[in-house]
């Protein structure tokens, strides 16, 4: 296996993109960065898709002036990637608009804070205390209540 094989370089690029994307999602706490991490991840996946039938030296699958090239690239991945990119754009736009709203509502784009505030909101709406590990676990179950009475007798 030749380390300088073009395939290896290209695949490394694709996987590298994906990994950078994942890295962005994993390490970052900022929502915008996470969203762009996803975009990168998608780009990597798209590249991988394109590479799946990549062949060095193949020409574009277009008949120009009626002449059929000797070797044409596979048109399917190209069409697929086209689709995938557009989907990606749609979702990206959606993500950004949601991010705007979240920022507006919670005043932050930090994932941890958003999570916390979301949890608070859910708990408030449900009318229960915010579950928190810093508090002692609340005894709410019938079982433990029964158990407590048991100990008394």
């Amino acid at each position: 296996m030749d380390i300088l094989d073009i395939n290896i370089i290209l695949y490394s690029a694709a996987f590298g993109l994906m990994l950078i994307g994942i890295g962005g999602i994993v390490i970052s706490n900022h929502l915008i960065r996470i969203i762009f991490g996803i975009a990168l991840l998608e780009a990597g996946a798209n590249l991988l898709l394109l590479l799946s039938t990549y062949h060095e030296g193949a020409s574009a699958p277009i008949i120009v002036d009626g002449s059929v090239p000797a070797m044409m690239a596979d048109p399917v991945p190209q069409a697929l990637v086209l689709t995938a990119i557009v989907i990606g754009v749609g979702i990206l736009a959606l993500a950004l608009s949601l991010a705007i709203r979240v920022q507006r509502a919670y005043g932050t784009l930090d994932m941890r804070e958003v999570r916390l505030k979301l949890e608070q909101e859910i708990s408030e709406n449900a009318g229960i205390e915010m579950p928190s590990s810093s508090h002692a676990p609340a005894v709410t179950t019938a079982n433990s209540a029964a158990a407590q009475q048991e100990s008394g007798s």
Partner: protein, 623 residues
């Protein structure tokens, strides 16, 4: 339409009628009559109880998962069904009169109560009729939920206890399901017969797993250690006659299933072969020891109770140990004793609960520290309770003695001194605590507020008295019940006990006719001698003095609280509530895990997990 179909049909109708008409004044009586009809249908199959019939099939069957689901009655089912219907009949009778009206006036739904009771009877009959492992499980679950229903009727505190029950019961049912499905995986069928044939070839490890799963499953319902915590409080909180019914028979369903699967199909002889490494014990011993601890610990917990219903309910747990012990010993004496104890126990436990309910009905409390001296006010109830506690304590001449005698005797034959000792310790504890029961309620000082109390109404007294007659007569002529248990023994393949009307025919046997007669004659002589003496003067009940000082009625001098101070002082430290600790430990473990999982879902960035998973998966595949 076989007799079994008739029985199940009537039982189902009973449920319907109870739900429809339960609230009417006559509804209760109607239901009671229907129970009597069920009893009649059962008597149509009485050949089962005398070994002249082996099996009565139901014509109803369905095919599921290419398994034919069957329902049928054999001697074992018949015996348990007899007790079930009897308990249902008397409980319903008890509930039909004044008690029911009071219950309704207090805002309880009598319709639901009767419905739940009838449903319990019906589901139990369905369970008893199960003809294969799958129907057994179905019946099992139905019974569990039916009992849950009746336990939860009272609301409030009862909800908590019912909840605890269903948590235990469902976990047990799941263990049971695991066991039954394991059998299916091993045997390839839910059929009883196939299991019986395959059991001798099973590997010891599989068998161990099976025994553990099945015993825990059945054990939860029986409330054997360490699954006993739910029972007493749940039963105690069940509305009046419901407690009598549940206490009498409900938990016996666990024993029934245990007998069917472990004793009849797997066989005790297989258990004996399963040795526990590094000990002298085998699986049978293990079960026997569990049974003995089930006798001892709950009995001494009962000794501490100061609520009559709880006290009785804890004894219910303890008495289960005797039955299991007898069954596990599985010789002719032991199994007969265990089975007979089911009957005997049902008769006096139902009666005792009824007495307590009657006392509650009249006085409004079952707190043993707030009663006393009711003997003069409720003499018939007192008589019933006296007969009941003699039975519960297992003293002659009541029927409880016979079954316990059989169990003791089987332990002597089996040569198990420590088990025997354990059983006796249990009996002694029972005597202590039942004396406390009767003393605190009926003897001693009459409270001023109870001076006007009258005897319980006839609708309550008659079922009590009927049960008292049963307790006495089957103690006098134990052969009546032993006929049935012998039929059961024959049908489950255990050596049949040689018996006659008075008891057991063997070397060093038992003849209750003689013993009871002698006892009665002895009492006669005692009476004679007593009345030959000088005339005595009856003083008023409240005319008392102690230590040379007159005690006024307002002074509370009834010695009731902490009745056995010396004993408690000594054994008090042994009440460590270890099982509650265990239970709470399990609960808090689940709680911790649960909190952790919630935290996982709330806080963890999924990608962490994902990344770890991917790395793990890839490295796993590569390596």
């Amino acid at each position: 339409m076989t007799a079994l179909d008739t029985l199940l049909l009537i039982s189902a109708i009973t449920v319907g009628v109870a739900l429809l008409a339960g609230n009417w004044r006559v509804g209760g009586w109607l239901v009671t009559i229907l129970y009597a009809l069920q009893g009649a249908a059962l008597l149509m199959m009485s050949g089962l109880g005398y070994s002249t019939l082996t099996v009565v099939q139901s014509s109803f069957s369905i095919e599921v998962l290419s398994e034919q689901l069957l329902w049928r009655f054999d001697a074992l089912s018949w015996f348990f069904a007899l007790i079930t219907i009897g308990a249902g009949l008397f409980s319903s009778w008890f509930a039909s009169g004044e008690w029911g009206e009071r219950y309704r006036d207090n805002g309880g739904s009598l319709r639901l109560f009767h419905g739940a009771l009838a449903l319990n009877v019906f589901t139990m009959l369905v369970l008893l009729a199960s003809g294969d492992l799958l129907t057994l499980f179905i019946g099992w679950e139905l019974v569990s939920w039916a009992s849950f229903l009746i336990m939860a009727l009272a609301g409030g505190k009862a909800f908590g206890y019912a909840m605890r029950y269903i948590s235990y019961a469902f976990a047990g049912a799941m263990a049971l399901l695991g066991g039954l499905l394991l059998i299916y995986a091993e045997v390839g069928s839910f059929d009883f017969q196939s299991l019986k044939e395959a059991a001798p070839q099973m590997q010891a490890s599989t068998l161990w797993l099976l025994v553990v799963l099945l015993t825990s499953g059945f054990g939860v319902k029986m409330a054997i250690l360490p699954f006993h915590l739910w029972q007493a409080k749940a039963y105690a909180q069940t509305p009046g006659p419901g407690a009598a019914f549940l206490g009498a028979i409900s938990s016996r369903m666990g024993l029934f299933a245990f007998i069917v699967v472990v004793v009849q199909l797997i066989g005790i002889s297989r258990l004996v072969e399963m040795e526990i490494p590094f000990t002298f014990l085998d699986a049978q011993d293990l079960l026997a020891w569990i049974a003995v601890f089930t006798i001892i610990i709950p009995t001494y917990i009962a000794l501490r109770q100061h609520d009559a219903r709880r006290l009785l309910a804890w004894h219910g747990v303890g008495q289960t140990g005797y039955m299991l012990l007898g069954i596990v010993i599985a010789n002719d004496l032991g199994s007969a004793g265990g089975l007979m104890h089911v009957f005997n126990y049902a008769s006096y436990q139902a009666m005792l609960f009824m007495v307590v309910v009657a006392v509650i009905h009249r006085t409004g409390t079952s707190d043993l520290n707030k009663l006393g001296g009711l003997f003069t006010r409720m003499p018939l109830s007192y008589l019933a309770m006296l007969i009941g506690i003699i039975g519960l304590a297992g003293l002659p001449p009541m029927n409880g003695f016979v079954s316990k005698w059989l169990i003791y005797r089987s332990l002597i034959v089996d040569g198990s001194p420590l088990l025997f000792l354990g059983a006796v310790i249990g009996t002694l504890g029972t005597i202590l605590s039942v004396y406390k029961l009767i003393h605190n309620i009926f003897l001693g000082q009459l409270r001023v507020e109870h001076v006007a109390v009258r005897e319980a109404p006839l609708s309550m007294v008659i079922p009590m008295m009927a049960l008292a007659v049963i307790v006495f007569v089957t103690g006098y002529f134990p052969g009546l019940v032993l006929d049935w248990t012998s039929a059961v023994q024959a049908s489950i393949g255990i050596p049949v006990l040689a018996h006659h009307l008075g008891g057991v025919s063997m070397k060093g046997g038992l003849d209750m006719i003689w013993i009871v007669s002698v006892l009665l004659i002895g009492f006669g002589f005692g009476t004679l001698v007593f009345f030959l003496g000088g005339r005595s003067r009856r003083v008023h009940q409240l005319d008392n003095y102690a230590g040379g000082h007159f005690l006024t009625a307002e002074t509370r001098y009834h010695y009731s609280d902490n009745f056995y101070p010396g004993l408690m002082h000594l054994i008090g430290p042994w009440y460590r509530n270890s099982f509650e600790w265990l239970e709470r430990g399990v609960i808090s473990a689940v709680d911790t895990l649960s909190t952790a999982m919630q935290g996982l879902y709330r806080n963890a960035h999924p990608s962490y997990l994902l990344l770890a998973a991917v790395v793990f998966a890839l490295s796993w595949v590569i390596v």
